[in-house]
Amino acid sequence: MKRPYIVPVVLVLLVSVALAALAVPPPAGGSITGKVTYTGTPPKMKPIDMSKEPNCAKEHAASPVMTENVVTGPGNSVEWAVVYVSASDQGSIPGTQTLKFDQKGCQYLPHVLAMQVNQPFEVVNSDPHLHNIHPLPKINAEWNKSQPPGTPPLTEKYDKPEFIPVKCNVHPWMHGYFVVLNTSHYSVTGADGSFSIKGLPPGKYTLTAWQEQFGTQTQDVTIAGGETKTISFVFKALPY
């Protein structure tokens, strides 16, 4: 028995399935969430005296900016730690979105800017006075640029992974970090110390947590399917 209509029906079905497969994104993959905390006594966060720059002193008169080399919160949480896949990475997507690093009120916002190699970022001066931005890389090329008020943003990028301290020669208390990574699987801890890395295809990963003063810690994690694993990093803190 001949069914001449079966061929077009099957074709239509096949095309529909193919289209559906294209339209629906691939399974989100697994994710890793958790917290970065400390034990012991961390260094005290100290108020920064900005009296030499009256604009900034005025801006923070009510609540002074505190030192940010170790920022802790309730529950021994550690802010500004970077958690990233340091080995056995897969499914990483190149970073194309331009990030922003602002100089505002004589402070770097954000304190830690994590980015991928060759990902562009803008350095903005939102203050009514001069800053000079001086990152101190050891592997990447070093530059030191002056940015008077009203200057258009500087667009920069780094081509090698590195943890780069950033300073302003005019305002010695200004301090930040560029964290250049080889992966899109990273997360910077928030005020509660939490992080979340999404879109991990099934597999075994090496996860590293970095904090500018505490150093690094590493853990291996295996992700199966679309599961969410919870991992915590605990740094030992010393007051000095």
């Binding site: 005296d49 080399n69 300073k167 020669n169 005019v170």
Partner: protein
């Protein structure tokens, strides 16, 4: 024409001199307020120089006016009067006179200068460590133990607020050192600063204290003074030290002893 010039010159000289004398009380035109125990000596010296050179300046302007007037009203056969022996002895005489004047001012002035810079600090003076670096001043108080921690330039870490390079982990004396960005002092108490530089030559200058001292890298430079008026005064760097030189300044806050004690206690609690 010559006579008009002579008259205008004389009028300008008299009017501008009168203007400055009349506004002698104005700090913007004359000297800023003197907030130090030693400043009157400096001011006295400056004023003496000012009066001496001012008197000579006015006199020479008026003489110039007179000579122009004479020359403009000369008649046929009028001859210039010359100094006996020609120009040479006149130049020699001028050099000797001016030399004596400058030497005399220097000798009198050096007494005042040495009284400030070359004398030892009072034994009860409050010691404060001052570090100048591109492009800020930082000040350090010894804290509760009255001992300054040792300096380790390799440990300088501005990001964590360790501007002086202290080693609190191994050095107990460094743990309570108070490091601040403003020089806060009690009024009427001798202060003993030890100035040093982290990088290049800087200079510590406070107009109201009548103090200016270069800070040379590698040297510990002593400087002592007593502030006599409470208030907030600007400390500026007066040696061109790089790109941010114009932004290199700090503030001197002279407080009453009670206010100072309270401030220091508050700072110690933050260490």
């Amino acid at each position: 024409m010559g006579k008009t010039f002579a008259v205008v010159l004389t009028i300008i000289t008299i009017v501008s001199t009168a203007f400055f004398i009349y506004h002698g009380h104005n700090d913007l035109l004359w000297l800023p307020v003197d907030a130090s125990a030693h400043g009157h000596g400096v001011d006295h010296q400056l004023m003496e120089t000012m009066y001496g050179s001012g008197f000579l300046f006015v006199l020479s302007q008026l003489l110039l006016g007179l000579f122009v007037w004479q020359a403009a009203s000369r008649k046929e056969g009028w001859k210039y009067k010359t100094f006996p022996g020609g120009a040479k002895p006149m130049v020699v005489l001028a050099i000797v006179l001016v030399g004596i004047e400058i030497l005399a001012l220097s000798f009198v002035g050096s007494k005042v200068w040495a009284g400030i810079y070359m004398t030892p600090p009072e034994p009860q003076a409050l010691p404060i460590d001052v570090q100048a670096g591109q492009f800020a001043f930082y000040f350090r108080y010894a804290g509760a133990d009255d001992k300054f921690g040792a300096l380790h330039p390799d440990k300088i870490d501005e990001g964590s607020g360790n501007f002086f390079g202290l080693d609190p982990r191994n050095d107990v004396a460094a743990r309570d050192d108070v490091v601040v960005a403003s020089l806060v002092i009690p009024v009427n108490r001798p202060i003993f600063l030890t100035l040093h530089s982290k990088d290049v030559i800087h200079s510590f200058y406070v107009r109201e204290l009548r103090l200016q001292q270069d800070i040379v890298p590698g040297l510990l430079i002593p400087l002592h003074f007593t502030a006599t008026k409470t208030g907030r005064y600007e400390i500026v760097c007066t040696q061109l030290c790089g790109l941010g030189h114009y932004q290199m300044k700090a503030y001197l806050e002279v407080k009453t002893q009670d206010e100072f004690d309270q401030w220091l206690k508050q700072q110690e609690a933050q260490q």
